[in-house]
Every structure is written in structure tokens, then in C-alpha cells.
Amino acid sequence: MPAVEMLFDALLLLCMVVLAWQGVHARNMFRAVVSFMMFGLLTAVAWVRLEAPDIALAEASLGAGLTGVLLLATLGRLAPERRRPRPRQAMTLTVLPWLALGLAGTWVLLAVTLALPAPGLGEAVFAAMPEAGVDSPVTAVLLNFRAWDTLLEIAVMLLAVIGLWSLGQDVLASPSTLPAPSLPALVRLLFPLFLLSTFYLLWRGGHGPGGAFPAGALLAAGLVLALLAGARVPRRMTGAPMRWALGAGLLTFLIVAVGVMGYGEAFFAYPPEHASLLIAVVEIAAGLSIGVMLTALFLGGEPTDSRSERR
């Protein structure tokens, strides 16, 4: 590897480690959150260095972007951190970090010795690509070879929304007065662009980096920005329409997975001639649902008619 690249990697990873430390231990909580967001962005760069553009897209939009927005929104709802006296179990707990560090150290040694040319599943994936129905290997793994994982993962996301709503929190209040009049204008300008890029990423997922998750994240970013600029959830979208939109991705996925059994195939075995179409259907439904789910996670509570009335 050229020394310049090595130097770049070293610098990047050093910054990541420092930011991670700051993100956990910075004196001021706001500072910690911002450090963590920068950590996320640098992680996205690290994914690019590791030749994983799909992960980089997801990390930048989900790991850094939306997680950061969630963290900041949470910070705004919390009282400032109080310095409490150390809890009683502090004595036993101080031993554990050293244990963790020791574990990590041995792991480094092992991992280095481990880094032998492992076979991996790459060859199996590439051998099966002609029958996958899509051209992008990562999408093929996500939506065909290991689609059952992805289905459960969407279930996890929906579960997060239901769990959050069951806490009975208020919907995050949009700021009553905006500090800058230019934000709504910007949102009006950018929102169509967000929609356009969402569909672009959905379409692109079939043969390159992209697909349902980055697309959903982008859609959510547009919606969250609109909410930050003072938009409200339209009243006819609250209640049943929103809930169905949240559930649509998982339901479509389930219907397709079980539906192919009607062809006499196994669970999730797309018939080869329809594979592309079915994957596209799943991808679009999942992408849109993910966008709505992420927005719901940002809102934090169930938007209802009466509540939006009160605000």
C-alpha cells in the first residue's frame, strides 16, 4: 500500500478514535453529541476506504445524520446534566473497564493473526449472481440470499416505532418562531430534490450502491428538514394513514415472501423470471416505509389530531 494512503488512513482512524472518546467523555453534553456526529461522518469516510460505498451511504445518512438529529432532539428535551454523587456500585464497576480493555487488547493480537486470506462468501455470492435478479451484489444479499434477515430488520424498525409510541411521549414540538426566514425557503427549494434523489437511489439499488435503506434515509431527511422548518404532519395523514404507511414495508415483504410459495417454491424463493420485479416491489415499499418510520422515530410520539390541534 502506498505510504500516502497509509498516512491518510492512520490520520482518519486517529481522528475517529479521538472523536469517539470525546463523544463519550466530553465535559459538556452538547459537545459530546456533536463529536459523536463528526465521528459518524468520519466513519462514513472509513467505509469508503474499505471499499464499502453502500455502508458509507447508510452511515452518513443514518449513523451520522439521523442519529445525530435524534440525539440533538433528545438533548433539547433533557434538563442539563447534573453532577450526581457516585452510585454505590461504583467500586465493582471500575474493575470492568480494565477487563474490557484487556479483552480488546487480546482481540487486536488475535485479529492481526486472523487476517489470513479467509475464504468468505464472496465467491458463492458472485457464482449465484446470474440468478439473483439484480446486478448489485450487496442488494442481492440483502433482498435475495439473506432476505429473511432484512425482513426481520424491518420488523425491528417497526417495533422501535411502536415501542416509542407506547411510551406516550408528546410529538416533538416544531419551533414556534424560526431564527431565520431562509430555512423554509431552502426546504421548499430542496424538498423536490430530496424526493427525486430518493427515487434515484431506489432505482439505482438494482445495480450499484443505493437501495431501500439509503433511499428511505434520504426521504426521512427531507421530511425531518421540513418538520424542522415548521411544517406539521398534515391532519389527514395522522392516525390510520400513517400507521398503514409504517406497516406497509413489512407487510409487502411478508406478502411477497409467502406469496412466492404459491408458485410451488420455497419461502422467499423468487421465481427466476419474476425475481427482478418482485425485488423492485419489495425495495420500493420498504424504502418508502423506512422513510416514514425514520420520520416517526424523529417525531418521538404518535401524532394525533387533537395534539396537532393544540400546538
Binding site: M1, E51, V112
Partner: protein
Amino acid sequence: MSLPPGTLFLLAAALLFAIGAHGLVTCRHLLRKVLALNVTTTGVFLLLVTLGRSGTGVDPVPHAMVLTGIVVALSTTAVALGLIVRLERRQP
């Protein structure tokens, strides 16, 4: 340079894991614990992709696993943050 290609990334992954695990145990504020947990998770993701890469060519399976993992991490983080806000609000 004699280091094998992934060494730096593996080192960083181990450090991130340690920072996160340490923070999770020692920090008292719940929000910091959540941040620490996310750092730990990133460390494991880095390890997963780096180890998967040392084979012949790029292996897409770890990529898909990490994509899944990022979404799961975001979902759980959202629930954790919701719980934190809820706990804080009920404090007298």
C-alpha cells in the same frame, strides 16, 4: 511498509470497542451510555468488514450484515433515547 493492509483498521476497531465498553460501564448519564454503546457497535462493524475484506476480493455478505446492523442500531438508539426523555420527564 510491511503491515498487512487491514491492521490499522483492526487496531481502530479494537480501540473503539474498548472506548465504548469502558464508557458504557463508567458513565453515569444515560445519554452517554447510549453514545458509548454506539461507539462499541461501530467498532464491531469495522472489525466485521475488515476481516471480511482480507479474503479474495470484496465479500458483499459482511457489507449486508453491517447495513442491517446500522439500521438495527439506529432503531434501538431511538427507543433508548425515548426512554431517557421519558425518565427525565417524570423526575420530580
